[in-house]
């Protein structure tokens, strides 16, 4: 044993190789999520669209499946085409619309330019194609989505702001047509999401209308307003059509309990007794520690 260690001690390069070998062997890289470099992985593209206040966007999510889990694919280029996969055609305004790079979550959002509606004024159903091609790590893949030209109009009853009417319409060659027998949601925006109001399972009537009554005691925000939303979820094409509008609202927000001095408030609103006791103890103990440090420095002076 002693001879072995003496030998090892004399061989620096051997020591280094042993250490490196051990590091490599014990590396967590072995269990880090990373596809093999040699063979290409088959990715999945998921497309969804959203039309919010008339603005159209298409969201692209890229992932691959590994051990029953979807792993997001970040930093990959996705090309988006309208109609068919080809170069942009200035006559028909079809073809390549642009490209995007996914973020760490494997997602990117394509926002259509302002002049899109003007250029495609006579088209009311759009077929979008997202494509990944020539990537060194991932196989070529493409996915399609159909976006219908739909919108929602919000209106309020004449005598009251609490009754909200929403009309779901779609554009056709003949013009604007109401969409009957379709489930919609009426929502009011809150701090961490949207709160539904009105009856359950609101369905549009023959005129494409739904209506709901806002709770009268609903607190608004400090600016004396609330945000009303109407939403249609196009489950067939994986899309959302929604509209939102701020309306005046006289009920101010409830007093925030966090502004009181409690154990569950923010740090600035800690109970006074707790602050006094804690700060006193800190001053007492750290004051004594400071005195001890002075004593330590005084030792040097005594030499």
């Amino acid at each position: 044993m002693t001879t072995f260690f003496k030998y090892l001690k004399s061989k620096r390069s051997l020591q280094l190789m042993l250490a490196l070998g051990l590091f490599f062997f014990l590396s967590p890289r072995a269990y880090a999520d990373k596809p093999a470099a040699a063979e290409k992985t088959s990715p999945t593209i998921k497309l969804s669209y959203k039309i919010h206040n008339g603005v159209k966007t298409v969201k692209v999510a890229v992932s691959y499946k590994e051990e029953k889990k979807f792993i997001p694919v970040g930093n990959i280029i996705v090309n988006l085409y309208l109609g068919e996969v080809k170069k942009f055609d200035k006559v028909s305004n079809d073809g390549w619309m642009g490209n995007l790079v996914t973020d760490d979550e494997g997602e990117c959002v394509f926002m259509f330019p302002d002049n899109f509606n003007t250029l495609k004024a006579n088209v009311h159903s759009f077929n979008f194609i997202a494509s990944i091609g020539s990537d060194p790590k991932y196989e070529d893949t493409q996915e399609e989505i159909t976006v219908n030209d739909m919108f929602i109009k919000l209106a309020f009853a004449k005598d009251s702001l609490t009754t909200v009417n929403a009309k779901l319409c779609k554009m056709q060659d003949s013009g604007m047509v109401p969409v009957p027998e379709t489930e919609m949601k009426l929502l009011v925006k809150r701090a961490f999401g949207a709160l539904p109001f009105g009856e359950d399972n609101l369905t549009t009537d023959a005129d494409g209308l739904v209506s709901g009554v806002l709770p009268a005691d609903l607190p608004g925000n400090a600016n004396k307003s609330i945000t009303i939303m109407a939403r249609y979820e196009d489950q067939e094409n994986d899309g959302i059509v929604e509209v939102s509008q701020d309306i005046p609202w006289n009920i101010l927000p409830r007093e925030n309990k966090l502004s009181q001095r409690t154990l569950w408030s923010s740090g600035h609103n800690a109970p006074v007794i707790l602050v006094v006791v804690t700060v006193s103890l800190i001053i007492l103990i750290w004051g004594t520690i400071s005195y001890l440090v002075i004593l330590l420095l005084r030792i040097r002076k005594q030499r």
Binding site: F5, P28, R29, A32, S265, L296, R298, I299, R303
Partner: protein, 456 residues
């Protein structure tokens, strides 16, 4: 057992001092010492390498999840805090009680306390997913949060423990500075800086004695509060197994026990590998420390019975489910091993004088230390897996916890790091305080001031 012979005249006192000077200088390591340091460095290097990947990839390299967000890093933190409590027990309490056999073991307990609390602080940072945001804790921390209390008290205890180590060590560092001539320049420079210009003046001794008195009083409440506050991290969280008013006292009792065991283990190893140290760390010290350990074990046993018997008698709701897991379920083997090997067997062995001889007491101390680590594991992990709210609609993996190699290696590195700090301290500084030992054995103060640094 070797009797301590007190000097009858000044000449004998001077000779005694000279002998201490010869015996108690730091000694160079032999093959075993070098091998030990190499192993520790290797374990630390592996841990650092894995920590690098943890920083790069995040806590995903660990087995932690939304359910078990506190794993072995936190149980290791509680273990380090427990071990660090020993500094106040041996140094402060025995000092205030004027116990006559404390001098050879005080510094061992002080360095164990300092390294323990240092690594308690470090392991908390390791447990953070984004350690670069630690400053936010000080800038935006809420004084209502026990985590903030814990950070404050850990820093305070670390500072006090360091001062408690440094003050009585100053004559020893100066002693090394003046007496050790055949050493590298950096080592001499280190002694020169750390000795704070110590020249064995009476006024300097008076300052040190005054500082030790203040520290002995100050460290006790701070040491008690560090472990109490650590227990409150758990007790203020509404979970089965932690919802206990007994927790503060229970943690303090457990900390005293493992701390005393750590000192016994340290005493045994130093005596074993340093020549002539058996004249200073005698069988009597082991016997006394054994008595202390058995007393502390009984106190801990009392709190353990309180902690488990009453909830176990009622077995109500989720608390009952949690206890069932400990008593007869998945964690039962570990739970009963901890109780039997970490408490019952040491008590039975140490009750008898033969059990308090160096070898058996060392084995019992190792049992207590290992048992204490796993006890902290049992405090943290099973409770995390049994929240009051049912575990629904979560990935299957989040319903279990198994520490990954990265966690074990980083935890191992922290333990190795603490041992390395103690080892290097023993290598470069006198581990027995010569002036305190001389004082304890009846050498007059004036003789110590005049002759401490003399060669024979």
């Amino acid at each position: 057992m070797k009797e301590i012979i007190k000097p009858v005249n000044e000449q004998e006192a001077i000779e005694m001092l000279h002998r201490y000077n010869e015996d108690l200088l730091p000694q160079k390591f032999g093959m075993a010492g070098k091998l030990w340091v190499t192993i520790l460095c290797l374990v630390i290097a592996i841990g650092l390498y894995n920590y690098f990947w943890q920083l790069k990839l995040g806590l995903t390299v660990t087995g932690l999840s939304d359910t078990v967000s506190w794993g072995i890093y936190i149980s290791n933190f509680v273990f380090f805090v427990a071990v660090s409590l020993v500094g106040s027990l041996i140094t402060a309490i025995l000092n205030l009680l004027n116990v006559s056999w404390r001098a050879p073991i005080t510094r061992i307990s002080e360095i164990i306390a300092v390294s323990g609390i240092m690594f308690a602080g470090l392991i908390i940072i390791v447990d953070m997913g984004r350690p670069d945001r630690i400053l936010n804790m000080f800038l935006h921390g809420r004084i209502q949060s026990p985590i903030v209390w814990d950070v404050i008290v850990v820093m305070t205890y670390m500072t006090i423990s360091l001062l408690f180590l440094i003050f009585p060590l100053l004559p020893g560092i100066a002693f090394c500075r003046d007496r050790m001539t055949n050493i590298p320049k950096w080592q001499h420079k280190m002694y020169k800086i750390l000795s704070f210009g110590w020249t064995n003046k009476k006024a300097q001794y008076e300052i040190v004695v005054k500082a030790i008195k203040i520290l002995s009083v100050l460290i006790i409440p701070v040491a008690l509060s560090i472990h109490t506050v650590t227990s409150w991290l758990f007790a203020t969280t509404y979970r089965p197994g932690w919802d206990s008013t007994n927790f503060g006292a229970y943690f303090v009792a457990g900390a005293f026990m493992v701390g005393a065991a750590a000192v016994i283990a340290g005493m045994f190893i130093i005596r074993k590998f340093y020549n002539r140290y058996d004249e200073y760390i005698t069988d009597k010290h082991f016997d006394r420390m054994g008595r202390m350990l058995v007393l502390l074990s009984f106190v801990y046993l009392y709190f353990t019975v309180n902690e488990y018997f009453i909830p176990g008698y009622k077995m109500k709701g989720d608390e009952g489910e949690h206890l069932k897991e400990l008593f007869v379920g998945h964690y039962a083997p570990m739970f009963w091993m901890v109780q039997i090997f970490g408490m019952i067997i040491p008590i039975l062995v140490l009750l008898f004088p033969k059990g308090r001889k160096p070898v058996p007491i060392f084995i019992m101390a190792v049992f207590v230390i290992i048992g204490a680590w796993f006890k902290r594991y049992l405090i943290v992990i099973p409770t995390m897996l049994h929240p009051f709210l049912p575990l629904q609609q979560i990935p299957e993996a989040s319903k279990h916890y198994s520490a990954t190699f990265a966690e074990w290696s980083i935890t191992g590195a922290s333990l190795a790091g603490a041992l390395l700090v103690i080892t290097l301290f023993i290598r470069y500084f006198p581990i027995i305080s010569i002036w305190e030992l001389a004082e304890e054995r009846g050498v007059p103060h004036d003789t110590i001031y005049e002759h401490l640094n003399e060669k024979e």
